[in-house]
Symmetry: C2
């Protein structure tokens, strides 16, 4: 029987390593098109692995089209002639390297004070411009207003803030969020549907428990890489799903056995694709066909700069298939760890029965403060101000690119929404070389393939410009250096 050894798998999981080995053998022709693969059970026994590991590896190969399955017969190596996907690098390495949308989780080793809330490093190590992190700048956080409200909450609420409340979070805050969603996103949501948690990552822990570990979860590729880590650590099967120019490919989704899919239709990260309404409806129709769910992550919806906002999946979902997620870490500051999800009515009873015993993970005190911040209009004011600020910043970057010497070499893509856009650089250099040269000039930037599980030649020379954390006055200098590099 087909045999693989695992001595060299390093830090990779077994399924990951097995998947890579098999894929590489298929690409190299060692496993020929049409060859029958061992059954999952016998292969598991043979390799001394769990059936689930084999399932995961086969599942991923299946989704990517490297193998096919014939009902009641088994798995076969697909004919990959003409296929473009080549495994460029070790995916786990990519994962561990970062590519995280939410830099707040970075603190890579946490084993020394210097990793912590230390003074800002003003030394030579600080990059001139960090386009790789899309952490919002905390410089614009309205700290004095926030402090004022905190003091008021302490004075007004007194010992009320010590009372324990609902596991779903402070009701008044949920009311304020519901009002905000109505005004801002046209979503009709009741406070009863809202669950507040200490960060989106924590909400994923709840969702996995709510929807069940038995389902297969889908992740957009390229996409938010941390999701794969969360699913992996929670022993949940997941599949990477390809995108086309309209976002998540329905074809890829249908080819997979995915039952719960994660998507950011309003502004996909990192491609910036805004999913057209037709695709949104198709996605909802897919979910309605079976016991399927869509997790809609609307993480930077507040920063749409032009055109009409497209309705959220949640607001056009009539079948109770969409779980809507959003966070205040992106709009306020990453150190305020308050995220929320909106559950469809159909899942509320299950949620309360299964997970209602968990305590809410966000401190009362910050819930009260955020409630006043929302209720009294400070939040709206803040995002309006930030939208203008970011628009100005984005315009500066784009102007710099489109004028001068860079304009012939760089094309700007998908710049209508959110805190990042893409550029395609016309260069002979490889993406890695570009990044290295930029780093030498104090500019951190990631390329699209950093966010991809598999290499797609279409993505080459595409770079992700996260401009939100870069100081405006440094932009001209950064653009000059960028020009030098390419």
């Amino acid at each position: 029987m087909l045999t693989y050894t695992f001595e060299n798998r390093g830090k990779k999981s077994y399924y990951q390593y097995l998947y890579e080995q098999m894929k590489s053998d298929i690409l190299e022709g060692k496993l020929a098109a049409g060859a029958k693969l061992p059954s999952k059970r016998s292969f598991a026994k043979h390799l001394n692995l769990s059936v689930m590991t084999i399932e995961n590896a086969y599942g991923q190969l299946l989704v990517e089209g490297y193998i096919t399955s014939v009902e009641k017969k088994g798995y076969y190596v697909a004919d990959i002639t003409g296929q473009v996907q080549i495994l460029q690098k070790e995916p786990y390495q990519i994962l561990e390297k970062g590519a995280d949308r939410d830099k707040s989780a970075a603190g890579k080793d946490g084993c020394g004070r210097q990793q912590d809330f230390g003074k800002r490093n003003e030394g030579t190590k600080e990059p001139l411009a960090d386009f790789a992190s899309n952490q919002v700048s905390s410089r614009h956080f309205p700290l004095s207003t926030w402090s004022k409200l905190m003091r008021r909450v302490l004075a007004d609420q007194g010992t009320e803030i010590l009372k324990t409340g609902s596991h779903q979070g402070l009701y008044a805050l949920r009311e304020a969020i519901a009002r905000h969603l109505y005004r801002f996103r046209g979503m009709a949501v009741s406070p009863e549907q809202i669950v507040i948690g200490a960060g989106t990552e924590y909400l994923y822990h709840l969702l996995i428990q709510l929807l069940g570990r038995g389902r297969i979860y889908g992740i957009e590729n390229p996409g938010y890489r941390k999701l794969a880590q969360i699913y992996d650590r929670n022993d949940v099967q997941f599949r990477y799903l390809e995108l086309d120019e309209e976002g998540l490919s329905l074809e890829a989704l249908r080819r997979s056995e995915v039952q719960v899919v994660h998507t950011s239709p309003s502004h996909h990260f990192p491609t910036g694709i805004v999913m057209p309404i037709k695709r949104r409806r198709e996605l909802l129709a897919w979910a309605a066909e079976d016991d399927r769910y869509i997790i809609e992550d609307d993480y930077d919806c507040e920063f749409r700069f032009s055109g009409l906002p497209i309705p959220t999946l949640q607001s056009i979902d009539t079948r109770g298939k969409v779980i809507y997620l959003n966070t205040f870490s992106k709009t306020l500051t990453p150190s305020v760890r308050i995220s929320y999800m909106v559950l469809p009515d159909s899942l509320l009873e299950l949620y309360r029965g299964k997970l209602g015993f968990y305590a809410c993970t966000v401190s009362n005190f910050e819930q009260y403060t955020l409630e006043v911040f929302l209720r009294e209009g400070y939040f709206e004011k803040h995002i309006n101000r930030m939208r203008n600020y970011y628009r100005g910043k984005r315009d500066t970057v784009i102007r710099a690119i489109r004028s001068g010497a860079l304009k012939k070499r760089i094309k700007v893509l998908e710049e209508d929404a959110g805190l990042h856009f893409l550029i395609r650089i016309d260069t002979e250099l490889s993406d890695e070389e570009v990044k290295e040269r930029l780093a030498g000039q104090g500019i951190r930037m990631k390329c699209l393939t950093d966010y991809s599980y598999c290499h797609n030649p279409f993505y080459t020379h595409m770079f992700v410009v996260n401009y939100s954390g870069v100081e405006e006055e440094r932009l001209p200098e950064a653009m000059e250096r960028l020009q030098k590099c390419i």
Copy 2:
């Protein structure tokens, strides 16, 4: 083949229901001693359940001695003549009913404002004395000091509090915790070993991911019932382990296949047993024999009233087998959701590699405030004051019981430490009748069997007196009513 149907399982999990049905059949003799049980795989196929479900049911029956396993042969019904354990009630019902050590998770449905941080219900519904909840009273939380420190943190730290930090939590806070553990528990712990999280429940989510879902976890029975819920929702196999008069039974532990055991040796909940040093060493020896771990939950160690404190397992562990857990929700107020764990050095690298990408779930702001609170001695002052306060309260309750008419009917047990003790009531009434009568008098109290997975006749007529949340001035009246009831 042996057949069970599941129409009547209600809200129980399959494994739970199957376990109960089989146990009941064994007790009633329908399954006779010596009878061979179907193999796990064939039984799973026959009942259309997963093998894991059967494994869980068999595993629990095995631990409890209802069945035995013979290597390479299979499972057999045990000879239970003389066994005392009878399933008294439906365990799931108990779980859902509460029995939660941490009331902050209550908010049972969360679907209305009245569930929330509403004004205190001064109406007739409020019990006179709630001995069933062991939530600490927030009345004694030093709110003015806390507020003062919060304001100072805002003023002193400025935008520092907006910076994201280590996933393990604010380093300065971890230093302060390490100093506290050294002074207070004689534990030599480095800040690098400490992980801060938004509540103990969240830390369990991390621990399951860290140690792996493949292991079997052990829970003390009787014990902290919420643990079973957490393990269940995370699809982790767990076994209930019996106690003897010295706490967790090593015999039960060795009979089980448990690899990770949860214990509160310093003050077991709810029996109040303090595990003697000999048993602690035996437990450590058990862990050292194999790839096993002990989760030591030291949740109310701060409130030991007499005698010398016994060293924590963590501090006498030389093999890196103990994970120490503690929380500030118990010593400060449940609405401050800050807990922490101390990992052995042996697990640090694994933790950082596997889970280092998660953001810390506690807001910076509260971490900074707690840090000052600890560093400047407010915490020590607070627990000293609270220890005196609770000692006084406990003495009042015990005095009331030991004097007057109650003394002949009630025996006080295990009262040296912590915020609860046990009483044995000499009565003809059943435990349920006692509780009902008490409830009629506005007194909530739980019996030991409420915290037990299986009934043990030794536990009958034992009640748990959680006195921490009861107002002192109401105690005399409560004692009078108690007398009336029994």
